[in-house]
């Protein structure tokens, strides 16, 4: 009953968001303020809203994806529905807040509420250890970033003497403050969008329900970082250093994530890493500091929302029907092509999604990525190092992306010509490798509630490429396509040989996580124990010692109370003398 109510509310709200986007489309930018109070002389806290085309774009994305996800969840999820749907709705609300807010504080509220919702939703299956730890990790890492974000707000807000986003950049500000502020904001962005060095939480957030991954960890929340920088673009443009830092971070991240994706053996994990690297591509576009760079980034955000959401939903279908998205499990069904035949819709839509991700010409990802490359190229041509760096790394990433897309596609859906080692390739990390053939007859397509969103998003993954007119730089298109092919071929040949060599360093994802464990978590736990010990054995010891001293003194005085009057007399006489001496000392 309650569950149904919440479902209705959720879907309704998403539709409302879409409606709002539709209504606001093409309307002149507006701002409204409500509430507000002075704290001190130079801090005026207020809630402001604004609408402009950026808002509209994001609203559309959020609305559509969340609508799809809400529908999909009806089929996907059937326990703890109420809390789940409520949280998803709350998440959508807070994302909308972030998008429409013109006040840094209001934005921060939405920003962290998203984090909280993501935490709670990742922990939806709280029976599972990986879900628990993943959720905690996600919240803590983003929170760490958010502290930086908060400080950034202080620096910028007090620097510009306003906390209204639309007024930032109007008044003069000291360059130092500007750089510091933007860098601090960047910390928050990095945390939210899982860029290096705070990237490790996103892959671990995958134990959450797939729809959640689709909505939060692919389409919207992680993209909020991109949105934020786009929102504050004028400020960032003024801060050269910050943009360079952003560029470096982005480039490192996209390659790093792509490599990790190449070695992942679980569909959702591959997708998570690819999300990280795709986000990095958007940041790369932003870091160029040019208008078409920004445009390209937002374009990529749009398309990426479509196809990555789609991919996650497909993974969700696999997870839901098969029970696992690990390659090794899927292989069992695939070996007789069961998967492909039994779930045609999933297969087709996922293929479309992967194509878009890999940048196959004609699909959405292709165009958006090319626009980034093109922007980078223009910038580089104007003789900018940043431009060159971005250009090179994006191209490399394109190749790597193609590789892991093809690898995923082939291994999941196609039986290997070389049957030998077909399974062996993934056995080593499989608990139940020598299980007999699963009965693939039970396997069948998901319900239409789940499939409809797939189709919608698939349409998006194809069509959005042509969203802002079809302008194509043939040279670049050719280059990227060739790179994609170069990336795809090795994957294909490896698959033909039924081999999947995974370098240890990649499998370990460059050992970042254990390092953090060793450098951060362990010392903190150690310190915690130290503190408790200190309270108990140092401070507490003083208190206890005081008490004990009192008791001892008391006992001592009782000992002095011998009952012998002459002791008292002696004590008295001694006391007289002592007093005389003491007072004499003090007196003179």
């Amino acid at each position: 009953m309650i569950a149904t109510a919440w479902r209705v509310v959720g879907v309704g709200f998403s539709l409302l968001v879409i409606l709002a986007a539709g209504l606001l489309y093409g309307v002149d930018p507006q701002q409204t303020a409500f509430g507000g109070s002075f704290v001190g002389n130079d801090v005026f806290i207020t809630y402001d809203l604004r609408t402009d085309d950026l808002t509209v774009l994001l609203l559309a994305v959020v609305g559509v994806v969340s609508a799809c996800v809400q529908l999909y969840s009806i089929g996907y999820l059937n326990e703890r529905v109420a809390s789940y749907t409520a949280l998803v709705t709350l998440f959508t609300l807070s994302m909308v807040t972030v998008v429409v807010s013109d006040s840094l504080f209001l934005l921060l509220i939405g920003w962290e509420l998203m984090g909280a919702c993501s935490y709670l939703l990742i922990g939806h299956y709280w029976e599972r250890r990986d879900a628990r730890s993943g959720a905690m990790k996600a919240f803590l890492m983003t929170r760490l970033g958010d502290v930086g974000f908060l400080f950034g707000i202080f620096v910028l807000g007090l620097g510009y003497d306003t906390f209204k986003i639309s007024e930032l950049g109007d008044s003069p500000i000291s360059p130092g403050a500007l750089t510091t502020g933007t860098l601090l904001i960047l910390v928050g962005v990095i945390g939210k969008s899982a860029q290096v060095p705070l990237q490790t939480w996103l892959p671990d957030a995958m134990p959450g329900p797939s729809p959640v991954s689709a909505l939060i960890h692919a389409a919207t929340m992680v993209a909020a970082g991109v949105f934020l920088i786009a929102r504050l673009y004028d400020v960032f443009l003024a801060a050269e250093t910050t943009l360079t830092v952003l560029a470096v971070v982005a480039c490192v991240t996209m390659l790093f994530a792509a490599f990790c994706a190449m070695a992942a053996v679980e569909v959702k994990r591959v997708l998570a890493w690819s999300t990280v690297s795709q986000l990095a591509i958007m940041f790369a576009g932003l870091s160029l500091g040019t208008d078409d760079g920004r445009h390209a980034a937002l374009f990529h955000l749009l398309t990426h929302a479509a196809f990555k959401g789609l991919l996650f939903l497909c993974a969700g279908v696999l997870l839901h029907q098969v029970g696992s998205a690990a390659f090794v499990v899927l292989r069992r069904y695939t070996r007789r092509g069961a998967l492909r035949k039994r779930m045609p819709v999933t297969f087709v839509t996922m293929t479309i999604g992967l194509a878009a991700l890999a940048g196959v010409p004609g699909f959405a990802g292709f165009f958006s990525k090319d626009s980034v490359v093109e922007a980078a190229w223009h910038h580089a041509r104007d003789g900018s190092t940043v431009g060159w760096i971005v250009l090179v790394s994006v191209c490399l990433t394109a190749a790597l992306t193609a590789f892991y897309c093809v690898r995923l596609w082939l291994w999941v859906f196609f039986r290997t010509p070389a049957l030998a080692g077909a399974l062996g390739a993934f056995e080593d990390d499989d608990p139940m490798a020598d299980l007999e053939e699963p009965d693939s007859s039970k396997l069948h397509e998901g319900s239409w509630l789940m499939l409809a969103p797939l189709i919608v998003l698939a349409l998006g993954a194809v069509g959005l490429g042509y969203a802002d007119g079809l302008h194509l730089n043939w040279a670049i298109a050719l280059a990227t396509t060739v790179l994609a092919v170069f990336g795809a071929l090795p994957a294909y040949s490896l698959w033909r040989r039924g081999a999947d060599p995974r370098p240890v360093v990649l499998e370990r994802e460059f050992g970042v996580d254990p390092a953090y464990q060793r450098v951060l978590v362990v010392p903190v736990e150690w310190l915690a124990r130290l503190t408790v010990g200190g309270d108990r054995d140092v401070i507490g010891a003083y208190v206890r010692a005081t008490g004990r001293a009192g008791v001892l003194a008391s006992a001592g005085f009782r000992k002095l109370q011998t009952g012998n009057v002459q002791t008292y007399l002696t004590a008295a006489v001694v006391g007289v003398v002592a007093l005389a001496i003491l007072a004499g000392v003090i007196g003179s």
């Binding site: 009782r558 109370q561 011998t562 009952g563 012998n564 009057v565 002459q566 002791t567 007399l569 002696t570 006489v573």
Partner: protein, 108 residues
Amino acid sequence: MPLIIPLLLAVALFCIGVYGVLARRNAITMLMSFELMLNAVNLNLIAFDAWHVDGLATGQTLAVFVITIAAAEIGLGLAIVLLLFRGHGHVDADAARDLLEQERGAEQ
């Protein structure tokens, strides 16, 4: 006669008295030591009185009072000692130790 002589004598008396009070166990002896101390006081008073001669002989007056006080104290003291003897069967001041607190239920 210089003032110092009686004063020294008085101090000597007083110290003897203090010694007696502290060292002797017998209550009667202690009372006698008190007498010594009080007499030291008297000696002082007389000496000082003789030293600065003021109109009404304050020192001597007080000396008379002190003698009275001593008498009264000794009277009461003897009574108490008597009582002690009746109760305890001896007059050793340091042997009367009934009034030590009992160790009971020290921690409840």
